[in-house]
Subunit: 291 residues, 2 copies
């Protein structure tokens, strides 16, 4: 089979940080693969061309999708609906479709509704990106050792899931599988709630406290420098799960406040030590994965 | 005047990460200064001697304090009471006393109560340290560009405050002044609350969500890997201010939950954008300070 894991032409819909990095990483993994960028703004496409993330750029759906055997939807979540509608008529029947969005339930439902049950779609969520935006920050190694979650449904063919999995692995990612609903619950706790808490932490400082902010504060709030429009879309798309995580956070805050109000030193130390142990283990397991 | 900013012998009480770094930084700034380490465990003192953070080690208060013109109390907060009592009889009358503790109101009150109004004390809080513990992590540049807050009271002589300020500046710190109460309020918001939220974020993950934790989660929770016993002491010592900050965090969580529940996209984006702008400005001002 020619090309990368059986994919000889990849069309990337939306060449921002993630889309651009998919292009760079795919070319780095297999220089014979042909990467086409589909976008709405000439300026982003030109940047992606300039850094070699794509071989060809197009503003036209039919043109960009012709000949694609893998299509990676990497647009903002709010553009999924429109992108899928425009793709519906010109997506080659044999093309495999995946995406890079941070919320999976709505994407799976949109694809089924707009492209129908025959669409060869498996949702993906590479856990990478950071707070930067735009193809100028794209990197060929963005997915190296990053987790990438695939969210097949009971209707997804196992062979299709395996092909998309192999694609991400060839970009360096460590893949795992989860149902869309479990994924959305997991990221509401481990990604979306941290974002909300980081923003909240910045919001409740005053001039006096910001003066004395140390490195710990800057680390804890780093993700609050992420793109606010992108995060608005993520939080709204995953609303129910994020609200449930916010409620759990409120419960924990109440519990910690109770320990403190009752001067319960041993209880506070136990709480902090359990968190420390758990995080230290997580860091150790991540290091082991990278070695 | 001989020695460093008029200090020719510095005695450091407690040679952990901060005490050891004070020694290393003082010797780096002025190799003629004599640094004595006072501690309770021979092992920590030996490590501090081995890395050159102190010139001489002692387990005896009278011995270590004799001849000191600057004494830096760098023990855990819970040992302040006992240390100050043991120092009371043998602290040279001319010695300037400061500390490095993260909570200042209780320290100021303890010094006044135990050493009396004649004690030449100014509280200090260098915002540096990170989550590591022990003299083996001490660094001569730990205070370089770090904020160090001094907390003189209306009774503190301005000349004394200026001398302690010059001392920290000679170690590379950027000093500022605040009353003990304002300091404790400020750090409850910018340092202690982030610690609580980081621990809480780790606590409410499950196995599923930890599997998909990305770099953002690791950054946001880094400080949760701090020493749990040290943090128990900090949170309890600053209990009232921390409880007030927890209450404000609960209010913000409720507000954000309301925006999300009512699907208020523009409201969410405004909240996130305000936090982003504020944090980006903070980062820019810190960069400017280091250049």
């Amino acid at each position: 089979m020619a090309g990368m894991k059986g994919f000889s032409q990849i069309t990337i819909v939306g060449v921002g940080l993630l889309g651009g990095s998919v292009g760079l990483a795919a070319k780095a993994a297999d220089e014979s693969v042909r990467v086409v960028g589909l976008g709405r703004r000439r300026s982003s496409l030109d940047k992606a061309l300039a850094i070699g993330a794509i071989d060809r750029a197009s503003l036209d759906y039919a043109d960009a999708l012709a000949g694609a055997d893998l299509v990676v939807l990497a647009s903002p979540l709010e553009a999924y609906e429109d992108n899928l509608r425009r793709m519906a008529d010109c997506l080659p029947a044999r093309a495999v479709l995946t995406d890079v969005g941070s919320v999976k339930g709505p994407a799976v439902r949109q694809v089924a509704r707009i492209l129908g049950p025959k669409a060869r779609f498996v949702g993906s969520h590479p856990m990478a990106g950071g707070e930067r935006k735009g193809p100028e920050f794209a990197r060929a190694d963005l997915f190296a050792n990053a987790a990438c979650i695939l969210t097949p449904t009971p209707r997804t063919s196992p062979g299709l899931t395996a092909r998309v999995e192999q694609f991400w692995q060839s970009l360096g990612a460590v893949t795992l599988r989860m149902s869309p609903a479990r994924h959305d619950r997991a990221v509401s706790a481990v990604s979306h709630l941290p974002h909300v808490l980081a923003a909240l932490l910045v919001a409740l400082q005053d001039q006096e406290s910001l003066k004395v902010a140390g490195p710990g504060f800057l680390d804890t709030t780093r993700i609050a420098s992420g793109d606010s429009q992108m995060w608005r879309q993520i939080l709204l798309a995953n609303r129910a799960a994020v609200l449930a995580s916010l409620k759990r956070a409120q419960g924990q805050l109440k519990r910690l406040g109770g320990l403190l109000a009752s001067d319960d030193g041993p209880g506070i130390a136990r709480y902090l030590q359990a968190a420390k142990t758990r995080r230290d283990e997580l860091v150790a397991s991540r290091r082991a994965r990278q070695e």
